[in-house]
């Protein structure tokens, strides 16, 4: 059963997935933030696990990761923490981390423990199609979806290949670059998103560089929803929960 796909499609609306860094503000802040995001209308929540060398991330998420590491955040602690209150979280939880923390934990143990903690999927930005075999079998056995990414530089033929056996949703990267706010998207974004949508049987969500309600509306015209990271982290930093709520609810009006 594809829990993520089901949760993202059953309401028949555009979806919003916020990203937060586990352990930013201390691991004790995680539960409170997850519940706040769930109550604010998040359709699923992406939880970053910090890594010392996050090459796909821009300054905001890099700094959040360093703060989380300074608080002593580890995969083990995050999994144990979430497992304790998993029944209170109804929306799907998706991990985003890099290959090395998963390898160091032990891939099979990671898949089992993540499933036990109620995690539905995992995004590993430095694990392209060519290297997926490393995790695929244990992930499948534990019903943990491996969320794939497509980007503006991915040729059409490759997009079709990635979409053919995608699970959960497809993460469409809206910029040629790293995570973080942008003022403007490139001209080929609409065509790109529409193409991904046309070949995908799972929802297509746009992320990287989406930070305002206007941008949410703009990209949602061509896909099924958005993932917002750096902006959510900034708003938690500023303790601006009202603004965050408004941003999450911006998908309801589309």
């Amino acid at each position: 059963m594809d829990r993520i796909k089901k949760a993202l499609t059953e309401k028949g609306k555009k979806v919003f997935i916020p990203y937060i860094m586990a352990g930013d503000g201390g691991l004790e802040a995680l539960k409170e933030r997850l519940i706040f995001l769930q109550n604010s209308g998040a359709d699923a929540i992406e939880i970053g696990i910090p890594f010392s060398d996050p090459v796909a991330d821009g300054p905001t998420i890099q700094k959040a990761g360093l703060r989380a590491l300074a608080h002593g955040t580890t995969v083990k602690k995050v999994l144990k923490d979430i497992a304790a209150y998993k029944t209170e979280i109804k929306v799907p939880l998706i991990f985003m981390t890099y290959a090395n923390p998963v390898i160091a934990y032990g891939i099979e143990a990671f898949a089992t423990d993540a499933a036990n903690a109620g995690i539905s999927g995992c995004i590993i930005p430095d694990l392209p199609l060519e290297e997926e075999d490393l995790v695929l079998a244990p992930f499948e056995q534990n019903d943990l979806a491996l969320i794939r990414l497509v980007t503006l530089t991915t040729p059409k033929e490759r997009i079709r290949k990635i979409a053919a056996t995608a699970t959960g949703f497809i993460y469409a990267v809206t910029v040629t670059g790293i995570t973080g706010s942008r003022t403007k998207f490139s001209d080929d974004l609409a065509e790109f998103l529409s193409y991904v949508k046309s070949v995908s049987s799972v929802p297509v969500l746009a992320g990287f560089g989406v930070s305002t309600a206007e941008q949410v509306e703009e990209v949602c015209r061509h896909c099924d929803g958005v993932i917002v990271g750096s902006k959510i982290i900034d708003l938690f930093e500023q303790d601006n929960l009202e603004e965050m709520k408004k941003l999450i609810l911006s998908v309801e009006k589309i």
Binding site: S52, N100, Y105, L152
Partner: protein
């Protein structure tokens, strides 16, 4: 395991369990394109002609294989030959790779180059070839390395490159690679990344090895002309591992040749201030490849330490990781102190001031030679010259006296 018919990497870029292409999707197309272009270039006569012409007339190859008589006498055992990569244009082996990659970039129509640098040798070699071929050049360099290698920063700027200081992390080579990768992700459409070592995603470890293996090919022929046989042992220092693989690769199938890679033990393997990725690390993924890494139990990459900026890297190329596992190459380590002694020893005995990186290889070779017979021979890769390190040494020796 025998290496009689050694033919790695496989087509996915794996050396046994190591290597691969662990990069963000945005880079995959560029990495696949590079592989195709590299394969095309390898069977293109014109490419080889152009490369060889530059290697001879611009870089100054071939470099001499020099019998270090005084050092041999001092060691009291095997004869020590030095492969003089320090005599290349720009003073190190790094240019063997940058010339090749820059020619590939031009073939791919990419006129902008990004690179990382640790000690600055790769940055200088990249900036140099970019000046020659009229390519735009951005070099990322850790803040700490900029402090340690001021002269090389100025050199790169003289050559027309833009040097960007990297503040993140420990401000050394690892962090410079992170930033160079992020820059490449953002500018991949018109930019080629000239990686400086046998690391990163496939095809870099293979391609850099192939460009650097000119070291070993020349050595084999020169040694045969002098001694009429194969050397008994090879020694080279290892940070990411490019000069060493360049020397070793043409000898991998010659199982009578003992091969030694020398890592930086920094303040000592018993401390946490070293760069001995193979001796003290475990396999993991960083900068696009599976390889041995210095990391904690949660998979966070640890900072490496060495007195030589060029060895200050917490990983070791995937092919070295594999050659370690199959026991074809012996990986040893040498401390900052031992390297400093060797630095002075070679300067005094042979009138050759080695790079601090290469001094690690010298230190090990002297120990190794002492335990071998006078009929045996060792070839050491003298990967670079020490001009860039003179200030560091002066401060260090001055402080001691």
């Amino acid at each position: 395991m025998t290496t009689k018919a050694y033919n790695l990497p496989d087509e996915k870029g794996h050396f046994g369990n190591y290597g691969g292409r662990f990069v963000p999707e945005t880079l995959m197309e560029a990495v696949l394109e590079l592989e195709k272009e590299y394969n095309r270039a390898m069977i293109d006569k014109d490419f080889h002609t152009e490369l060889q012409k530059l290697m001879k007339d611009y870089v100054g190859r071939e470099t001499p294989l020099y019998l270090a008589g005084n050092l041999t006498e001092h060691s009291g055992g095997a004869k020590i030959y030095l492969k003089r990569e320090d005599l290349n244009h720009t003073g190190a082996h790094k240019i063997n790779n940058t010339v090749g990659q820059a020619l590939l970039a031009v073939r791919m129509g990419k006129r902008k180059i990004v690179a990382e640098t640790g000690a600055g040798q790769h940055g200088v070699a990249t900036a140099t070839v970019c000046a020659l071929l009229k390519l735009e050049c951005v070099i990322f360099m850790g803040k700490e390395d900029i402090r340690r290698q001021q002269l090389n920063v100025f050199r790169m700027e003289l050559l027309g490159a833009k040097v960007v200081s990297v503040d993140a992390g420990s401000g050394t080579l690892k962090d410079a690679v992170n930033e160079a990768l992020r820059y490449w992700v953002t500018n991949v459409r018109d930019t080629h990344y000239i990686l400086g070592s046998v690391m990163g995603p496939h095809p870099f470890p293979k391609m850099v090895r192939d460009f650097q293996s000119v070291i070993g090919k020349e050595t084999k022929q020169q040694f045969f002309e002098k001694e009429g046989k194969l050397p008994d042992a090879l020694v080279a220092c290892i940070g990411g591992g490019s000069n060493s693989i360049g020397l070793f690769y043409p000898f991998i199938e010659d199982e009578s040749v003992a091969i030694y890679g020398v890592e930086a033990a920094g303040l000592g393997l018993e401390t946490d201030k070293h760069a001995a990725s193979l001796t003290k690390g475990k396999p993991g993924v960083l900068h696009g490849a599976m390889m041995y890494l210095l990391q904690d139990e949660d998979g966070q990459i640890q900072e490496a330490h060495s007195i030589s900026a060029g060895l200050d890297y917490p990983g070791i190329g995937p092919e070295h990781s594999h050659l370690h596992d199959i026991n074809r190459v012996h990986y040893e380590s040498v401390t900052d102190e031992e390297a400093l002694d060797a630095f002075q020893l070679l300067s005094k005995l042979e009138g050759i001031i080695p790079a601090l990186e290469s001094a690690h290889a010298i230190a090990y070779a002297v120990k190794l030679a002492a335990g071998m017979s006078k009929e045996e021979n060792i070839v050491v890769c003298l990967s670079g010259r020490g001009d860039k390190d003179v200030q560091t040494i002066q401060a260090r020796i001055g402080g001691q006296e």
